[in-house]
Amino acid sequence: MLFNSISYLIFLPIVFAIYWMLNSRNLKWQNLFLLTASYFFYACWDWRFLFLLMFSTGLDYFTGIKMFEAKSVKLKKFWFFASIFINVGFLGVFKYYNFFIESFEDLLTNFGVTSHFWTLKIILPVGISFYTFHGLSYVIDIYYNRIKPEKNIVDYSLFVSYFPLLVAGPIERATHLLPQIKKKRVFNYENAMEGFYQILWGLFKKLVIADSCAVYANEIFDNHQSMNSISLLLGAVYFSFQIYGDFSGYSDIALGTSKLFGIDLLRNFNYPYFSRDIAEFWRRWHISLSTWFRDYLYIPLGGSKGGMTTKIRNTFIIFLVSGFWHGANWTFIIWGLLNAMFFLPLLITNNNRNNISIVAEGKMFPTIKEFFSILLTFTITTFAWIFFRSNTVSQAIEFIKNIFKFDFKGGFQYLTFDRYTIELVFLLFLFLFIEWISRERVHPVFGKFKSLKVIAIITMILIFGVFSEAKEFIYFQF
C-alpha cells in the first residue's frame, strides 16, 4: 500500500476513526488495533514476509529480556551476539547474498575460472533494512544498559512495526518511541492539523517534484549514451530533486500520519539542499540513519576520540557502511566513498561543525559566500548522486565522461518529451523558493492565511502532480 495511493486514502481515515474511538476504552486496545492495522498495511505488499517481520520482532523481544535477566556477563554477551548475528544474518541473506556471490563469480572469472554458484531468486522484503535497524538499536541499548527491555509484546511489536515508519523509516529509537506508545494519547487539534499539513506537503514533494523529475531523470539516465552534455547535466539535477522529493516527501507523510495518531516521529530531513558544506548536508539528510550510524557505529568505533587517523578511518567506515546499507551494488559503495572524500577536508581542518545553525537565519537572502557554499555543496552532492542512480559503475563513469565532453549540439534534448519542457525548471525554482522561505519551519503551511496556502498546495498537486502511474518510493527498495 503506497502512501500516494487510493487504497491508503481509504485505509488512513478508517484506521484514524477506529483508533480515536478506542481512546475512551484503554491504551491496550488502542495499541493492539494500531499493531493489527500495521500488520495489515505490511501484508498488503506480500503477506508471506509478515512472518519474517514477526520473527524478527519476536527475536529481539525475547533476546532483550534474556539479556536483561542474564546472571552472567558471558550469558548476556551470548544473547546479544545471537540477536546481532541473526538480525544481520537475515539482512545479509535477503539483501546481500546475491551481491557477494556475483562479485565472487566476477573475481573468479578475472582469474580465468568459470563458476556458477547458487543465487537466491526472491524479492527483497520491503522495509527489512529499516525494521532490522529498529531491532538492532533496541538490543544494543539494552546491552549497554541504556534502557530496560519492554515486557509488553504488543507495545514492543508496535515499536518495530508501526505502519507510518515500517517500510522506509524514519529509523526510530526505543528511547524516543516506546515511551510515547506506553503513554495514553489525547487528541490534540493543533497537532493533528500539523500532521495534515505535513502530509499535504509530503504529497506535493512526491507527486509534483519527485515524480515529475522522475519522468526526465529516468529517460536521461536510461538513454545517456545518446544525450548531450546539457541534457545529462539536467538529468543529474533532476535526479537530485527526484530523490529529495521522493524520500523527504515520504518522510513528511510518515511524520504527518503519525501526528494524526498523537505520536511524534524523529525528523528525517531538514532542508538538506541549503547546506553550506557536506558535513551540514549529512546533518540534514536522512537524519535518523545518520544519527543511527553515529550512535551505534561511529562512537563505538572510537568516534572523534584518538588521533586523526582514527577519525579518518571511522569516517570512511561510516560512509562505506551507509552506502552499502542502501543496496547491494558497487554504485552505492562508491557513492558512500565519494561522500567520505568530500567530508575529509572538513574533518582534517576541523571545520566539520562550522555550520550548525540555519543558513541566513532571520534574513531573506543568504550572503554571497553562503550562496556559493550552498551551490558547491549541491554540485558535489549531485555528482555523487550520479553513482547512486546509475545501474552500474561503468554507466556512471560514462555518464560523467559525457558531461565533460561539453557537447551542446541539439540543445535541450529533453524538450522532445510530451509532459513538460523548460517549465519543470521553473517549477523547481518555485519549489526551492517555497522551501527557502520555510527553512525555519517543518513545512510551508505556517503563519497567516493557512487555508489559502492549503488550497494553493492542493491546486498545484492537482495541476502538476503525476497521477498517470503511481510510482513507488525509491527508498522502499532499501
Partner: protein, 298 residues
C-alpha cells in the same frame, strides 16, 4: 475532534470544488481551442461534406495523400486514419461521422491484422478524453473500452489527472496560446520519412472466426446505407503468413487487397508503414485501381 473533522471536511469540499472548476476550465479550453490533435481536427469538420473519407489506423494516416487524390480526381478527400486504431476505434469514428454530420459520399475502411486485434488505441483515447461527455458515441466508446470509465465519467478532473502525460497544464497553455501542431496538415495525412532496416513482419495464421465489432460495423453500414469499401494497405514483401489477406478477402465484403501492391523496400518506413515516397506511389495505385476505375463505370 469535531473541529478537526469539520476542517478536513471543508478542505475535502474545497478540493472537490477545485477539481470541478479545473475540469470545467480544461474542457472548455479543449472544446474551443484550435485543433492540436487529429481528433480535435475531426471535431472541427462538423457539417462538412467530402467525396472520399478514409478510416483506419496509421497505415491509412501514413499511406493515403488526399491532396494527390484531389489533384487527380477533383474529389475532396479526408484521411481519418488514427494511430494504433483497432476495429473498435474505426467503428467509433464511423459513428462520429454521423454524430458530427460529416458526410462522405464514399467511405474507405482499411482492414488487415487489426481484424484479429481486441482493444482500442490509447493514442486516440487520449485525444478523445476531453470530449467524453459530448455525445453518446464517445461515452459508449469509453464505457466499452476503458476500465477507468466510472472515474472518467463521474469524478471531476479524474480524466485529466489519469492522463497527465498528455493532457496536462502545458497542453492547456499551448492551446490557449493557439500554438499549432503539424497534426492537421494535409487533410489528415501524416508522412513518415526514411526507411528502417527491419522489414520483417508476421501476420496472424488464421482469421478469428467471430468478430462482434466487425459485424457491428457491417450492420451499421447497411443500416445507414453507407457506401463503404474495404481495403488492405501494402505490406513489405518479407512478411510471414501473407495468405492472411486472402482469408480476409473471403470474409470482408467489397474488399480490395493491396497487401502486395508495393514491392520496393525503399518505399517502406518499416514493414507495415509506407514512407512519404511510398505513400505517393500507393495513392496513385489506389486512384487508378479503385477511384478512377469506379468513376469510369459510373
Amino acid at each position: 475532534m469535531k473541529k478537526f473533522i469539520v476542517t478536513i471536511l471543508s478542505y475535502l469540499i474545497a478540493t472537490f470544488l477545485i477539481m470541478f472548476a479545473l475540469d470545467f476550465g480544461y474542457t472548455k479550453v479543449y472544446e474551443n481551442a484550435k485543433p492540436r490533435t487529429k481528433f480535435q481536427y475531426l471535431r472541427s469538420l462538423k457539417n462538412k461534406q467530402f467525396d472520399y473519407i478514409f478510416l483506419g489506423s496509421s497505415r491509412v494516416e501514413n499511406g493515403i495523400i488526399p491532396a494527390i487524390i484531389k489533384e487527380k480526381t477533383g474529389k475532396e478527400t479526408l484521411n481519418l486514419g488514427f494511430q494504433a486504431s483497432k476495429l473498435n476505434d474505426i467503428y467509433t469514428v464511423l459513428q462520429l461521422l454521423k454524430e458530427y454530420n460529416i458526410q462522405g459520399k464514399r467511405i474507405f475502411i482499411q482492414i488487415d491484422y487489426i481484424y484479429n486485434l481486441k482493444g482500442n488505441s490509447k493514442i486516440l483515447q487520449y485525444q478523445m478524453i476531453p470530449f467524453i461527455n459530448e455525445n453518446e458515441v464517445l461515452n459508449k466508446h469509453f464505457k466499452n473500452n476503458s476500465k477507468d470509465y466510472l472515474g472518467y465519467n463521474y469524478v471531476p478532473f479524474y480524466r485529466y489527472s489519469r492522463n497527465d502525460l498528455k493532457l496536462n497544464f502545458r497542453e492547456i497553455l499551448l492551446s490557449v496560446a493557439k500554438k499549432k501542431t503539424n497534426a492537421m496538415q494535409g487533410d489528415g495525412y501524416a508522412p513518415k520519412y526514411g526507411t528502417s532496416e527491419n522489414h520483417r513482419l508476421t501476420l496472424p495464421k488464421e482469421l478469428d472466426k467471430e468478430n462482434i465489432v466487425f459485424d457491428s460495423i457491417i450492420k451499421y453500414i447497411e443500416k445507414n446505407k453507407i457506401n463503404a469499401t474495404f481495403y488492405c494497405a501494402p505490406f513489405c514483401y518479407h512478411g510471414k503468413n501473407m495468405e492472411f489477406t486472402t482469408k480476409l478477402k473471403n470474409k470482408v465484403p467489397n474488399f480490395y487487397d493491396f497487401s502486395r501492391a508495393v514491392s520496393d523496400e525503399k518505399l517502406f518506413q518499416n514493414s507495415s508503414h509506407l514512407n512519404h515516397e511510398g505513400a505517393i506511389y500507393f495513392t496513385d495505385i489506389f486512384i487508378n485501381q479503385v477511384l478512377l476505375k469506379k468513376k469510369n463505370t459510373e
